[in-house]
């Protein structure tokens, strides 16, 4: 199986994790990124955590020994789990919907930053205002650390479209942040 080996910038910690089965180490490194990706495709933070749980357990049990970049596999798995969940949710009764929580929890998507919380909050607010198709490309590129080719495969887009959505997203973000600065 040496044929399948490949070198990725973030595969080394993965190999270490695989060796001693420390899922906690792996999850500490990549869990927050996966959760952020999951939040692009789910309505609530609780849903996003459920989706990450499903995808991660599946990965750890059945896919962690597979060769290749696990982040791309996991992002696909998270996205698929999010869509499956959305389909199942449509069949839920209103009572169950209330019991499990229907409103999104207002929780920051980023850790407090050194640049100050005002700036982080402004960026979060600007991200939320981006069109969903631009935001998901931006999140997958910046925090999912996927290439445009990988994003294109995830979203079933041409790579050029993924790249241009990324540029539009950055430009829109910059515009919104400048406007926010002007208005204090």
């Amino acid at each position: 199986m040496a044929l399948f080996r490949q070198n990725r910038t973030h595969s080394a910690p993965m190999e270490e994790s695989r060796n001693h089965d420390a899922w906690q180490n792996w999850f500490q490194l990549y869990g927050p990124k996966l959760l952020l990706c999951a939040r692009q495709w789910t309505r609530t933070l609780a849903d996003a955590e459920d989706v990450v749980q499903d995808a991660f357990v599946r990965f750890w049990r059945h896919q962690r020994e597979l060769p290749g970049d696990p982040m791309a596999l996991l992002v696909t798995s998270v996205r698929r789990a999010a869509f499956d969940r959305a389909r199942r949710d449509q069949r839920r009764t209103a009572r169950e919907e209330r019991a499990f929580g229907g409103e999104d929890t207002v929780a920051s998507v980023f850790e407090p930053s050194l640049d100050g919380d005002d700036r982080r909050e402004a960026i979060e607010a600007a991200l939320l205002r981006l069109p969903a198709e631009q935001r998901e490309v931006l999140v997958l590129k910046i925090w999912g650390e996927l290439t445009f080719e990988e994003i294109a495969l995830q979203l079933d887009l041409p790579p050029n479209t993924a790249a241009s959505r990324y540029r539009y997203a950055l430009a829109a973000l910059r515009k919104q942040l400048i406007a926010a600065d002007c208005h204090g």
Binding site: A2, W23, G31, K33, E49, Q53, V57, P67, E111, I123
Partner: protein
Amino acid sequence: MDEELAQLEAELKRLRPAAPSRELLARLERELACSENAGSVSAAVVRRRSRAWWLAAAALPIAAAITLLVTFRARHELPVTPPVTATLTVSEPALFKPVAAENVLYSARDEGLVTLDDGTPARRERLRYVDTITWKNPQTNASVRWTVPREEVRVVPVRFQ
């Protein structure tokens, strides 16, 4: 990309996504511990797989590997030109990358309410998936696809209000 966008990109990269909740970590701990102690039943999610599918799961990668080897040999053996020194770059490992992974849910059946060992009412769902993972070697365009059927039985505790 202009300088300002590059600066913004760098600033975004410095932001660290928020950590998952302790509750999620505890759930993962329980579920993964549950899978290690085979036979113990998780209260939240129970997954079963038929033996036949395990056999299929074991057989398919072997078949895929054989297909791959045959494909490689065929690719490299076809141009049988005069006995020039054949320079196959076998020393360099092939770079197979996973290019697609799909988990297609094709059947979901609600099997109604059941009662767990501790008396908790729960709803049992039977979900059927087909998992497909594709690897591709961009240098040779050789690809391997692995498709496995999978069945999940989920027991989700129900809360009445």
